[in-house]
């Protein structure tokens, strides 16, 4: 789920307003967009990209391995399932408010065909200085800068703020993995943590979580075994219980999904959890420092 320059990206819904805007941004930044899909405009070019009638044709003709969907909720399931069946390796689902039973059908199809889904309701993936897939401001130099810190976020806006704070402190990022704000995600915090742990270009990881679900607790189990230093911010400490805070996944019911539970689990796993986003850069710097001295002490 770390995108690279050599990934061949297919854009579904490329001819729409947002599809057009963000495809141009992706191409300008360095993303290798090889195909678009729109059955009514097959055979044409759009923003310099050839359009095919179906995902299967796009993949067969261009060797696409990553797809990103600019598709409204009622059509999202069929688009995702046909893209998965086309043999795509990684599917980034930006769409928010897809009916939950359609989301389950997408995940079932992905599991059957070995596709990794990122999302739904994600802002996408950024590899600073290299490429991006989605709707993140990768191209704003004050926000992203190439470096060696991996960032995982359920929220696009908050993930952007955290990267901005890292960049302002001179700390660049190896990858931004937006996992999405929905309750049923193809890629969990733990999945993303594992990928960044295995990534040789990543020295430390920042987790940007939020209330609801149990993904941060699950990630903490993995974090315990990790040698790379970690810092985290969890949104929703002040959120009233029983209310969905914008994201369908951000709701506290009883003790499940609470801020306290997530913070406790992450801290018990050795993750530095900060109170406000501007503290994240100092926490990462300190964690890196102590990580290095630990390594030095054992040598």
């Amino acid at each position: 789920m770390i995108v690279r320059k050599n990934n061949r990206v297919v854009v579904l819904g490329i001819t729409g307003k947002q599809g057009t805007f963000w495809t141009e941004k992706m191409i300008a930044y360095g993303t290798n967009v090889v195909a678009g899909v729109n059955p009514k405009r097959a055979g044409e070019d759009h923003v310099g990209v050839p359009i095919f009638a179906t995902p299967a044709e796009a993949v067969a003709k261009t060797g696409g391995d990553v797809a990103v969907m600019f598709i409204p909720p009622p059509m999202a399931k069929d688009a995702a399932v046909s893209t998965v069946q086309a043999g795509i390796k990684l599917l980034v689902v930006l769409t928010e408010h897809i009916p939950a039973q359609d989301v389950m059908a997408m995940h079932a199809a992905a599991a059957k065909h070995g596709t990794r889904i990122v999302g739904p309701n994600t802002a996408g993936l950024v590899t600073p200085g290299e490429c991006f897939v989605g709707i993140m401001p990768a191209f704003v130099p004050s926000v992203f800068r190439a470096g060696r810190i991996g960032v995982i976020s359920r929220s696009g806006s908050l993930g952007t703020l955290v990267c901005l704070n890292l960049t302002r402190a001179g700390i660049g990022q190896s990858a931004f993995i937006g996992i999405g704000g929905d309750p049923m995600l193809g890629t969990t915090t733990r999945d993303a943590l594992e990928a960044l742990d295995e990534d040789s270009r990543t020295d430390a990881v920042v987790i940007v979580g939020e209330i609801g679900g149990a993904m941060e607790e699950e990630a903490a189990v993995y974090a315990k075994k990790m040698a790379k230093p970690m810092a985290a911010f969890i949104a929703g400490a002040a959120a009233p219980p029983g209310k969905k805070m914008g994201h369908a996944g951000a709701i506290v019911t009883g003790n499940a999904g609470s801020y306290a539970s997530k913070r406790k689990a992450l801290e018990a796993a050795g993750v530095t959890v900060v109170d406000t986003p501007s503290q994240i850069a100092a926490a990462v710097a300190a964690a890196l420092q102590s990580g290095r001295s630990k390594v030095a002490a054992t040598q």
Partner: protein, 375 residues
């Protein structure tokens, strides 16, 4: 979207072929008396989309019409949770032999529908899980298929359901079909009762419709319970914006759910209290004009934080909406900005030139200033 018991039974269970007691929805005590005269010994049940109705005194037995009248007059107008009771369901009393719990819901971690069954009916599932976790049976379902009667019977194995098992398997099968057909997020029967005459009947029903599926369930959506919203929150709904009014005095206008929650958190971190949750993320980022009007209409607001960090949402578009609304509304409370991300340069310039306000470089500083101004 939540539903009252009567709507859940009549719109979801009955069409699915699951038996419910004979009953009538009443809006007055006189009507309840008439219903009881027709039904016989009955239960008068408050119709509100929330749990703990019994504990709140919202469910009463009545042997005769005059008792039903008295019960209804006590229950109607009562407040349960966030809701005022405006309707009661008058339902025939059931001679219960055994009570069960059955539900179909989303298992987020497994990304599949999950069927739950327990012989400990009548309690909340959380209570059953705490008191007797071994009493809960689970069956994960592949969304592309449906559970076979053998799968369901397998889940019930060893529970000694006797002759009732065949009927219970049929109820679970029908409940799963209804869960799929109605785009349920949760469909729960608690209790499902085995009566002394051997019938299996749903005594209560909770149905939550998936908000994402409202567009394709228009008939169900029309029957949903009215939300317990404040007039300001209603205005938010009308504008297509998610607004939650809180009891603090620092107003919040931010884009994206994560950033909005964080803005509230940081307000509290500095000793202030947020006055609202309002996000204009996703496609709604073009609605900053009406959004500013909404947050300023909250009578509790003493200061306001406008915190934009644009990814998909363009800060220049949001700032433009704010500037337009500002000239009309002429805010009387101090407003503190922080603006970063997509469209940042133009957005900052707009706010600086049009409003004469310099945005803070860090959101924490803008929030600290707003908390101070509200004190």
């Amino acid at each position: 979207m939540n539903f009252e018991e009567y709507a859940a039974k009549s719109m979801v269970l009955t069409p699915a072929g699951i038996s419910v007691p004979r009953g009538r929805l009443c809006i007055s005590a006189a009507e309840a008396a008439m219903a009881a005269a027709n039904i016989g010994p009955c239960v008068v049940k408050a119709q509100v989309p929330t749990g703990k109705r019994g504990k709140a005194g919202g469910i009463k037995l009545a042997a005769r019409p005059e008792e039903a009248k008295q019960a209804a007059s006590q229950i109607l107008g009562m407040r349960i949770g966030d809701y005022k009771v405006e309707r009661v369901l008058v339902e025939e009393q059931a001679a219960i032999a055994r009570e069960f719990y059955v539900a179909v819901l989303h298992d987020s971690a497994a990304r599949k529908p999950l069927i739950l069954f327990s012989t400990e009916g009548g309690m909340d599932i959380e209570e059953i899980a705490a008191a007797k976790p071994s009493a809960i049976r689970r069956l994960l379902v592949d969304i592309e298929s449906k559970p076979s009667p053998a799968d369901i019977a397998g889940m019930l194995k060893g529970l000694h359901l006797g002759d009732a098992e065949v009927q219970i398997v049929s109820v679970i099968d029908r409940l799963y079909t209804a869960f799929r057909r109605c785009d349920a997020e949760l469909l729960e029967i608690n209790p499902l009762a085995l009566l002394e005459d051997n019938r299996v009947v749903a005594l209560d029903c909770k149905f939550v419709l998936d908000d994402g599926a409202i567009y394709r369930q228009p008939d169900l959506a029309k029957s949903a319970a009215a939300s317990a919203l404040t007039p300001l929150e209603m205005r938010g709904v009308e504008a297509g914006l998610k607004l939650i009014q809180l009891d603090g005095n620092v107003g919040v206008l931010a884009n994206g759910a994560g950033l909005t929650m964080t803005t509230m958190d940081v307000i509290r971190h500095y000793g202030g209290k947020p006055a609202n949750f309002l996000e204009i993320g996703g496609e709604a980022y073009t609605k900053s004009e009406i959004a500013l009007d909404l947050v300023l209409s909250n009578p509790g607001v003493k200061s306001l934080v406008i915190n934009f960090c644009g990814a998909f949402a363009r800060t220049d578009v949001m700032a433009d909406g704010v500037v337009k609304a500002w000239h009309k509304l002429k805010p009387k409370v101090p407003v503190f900005f922080s603006i970063h991300g997509t469209g940042e340069e133009e957005a900052v310039k707009l706010v600086r030139d049009e409003l004469g306000i310099e945005p803070y470089d860090f959101m924490e500083d803008a929030i600290q200033a707003a908390v101070k101004a509200a004190q």
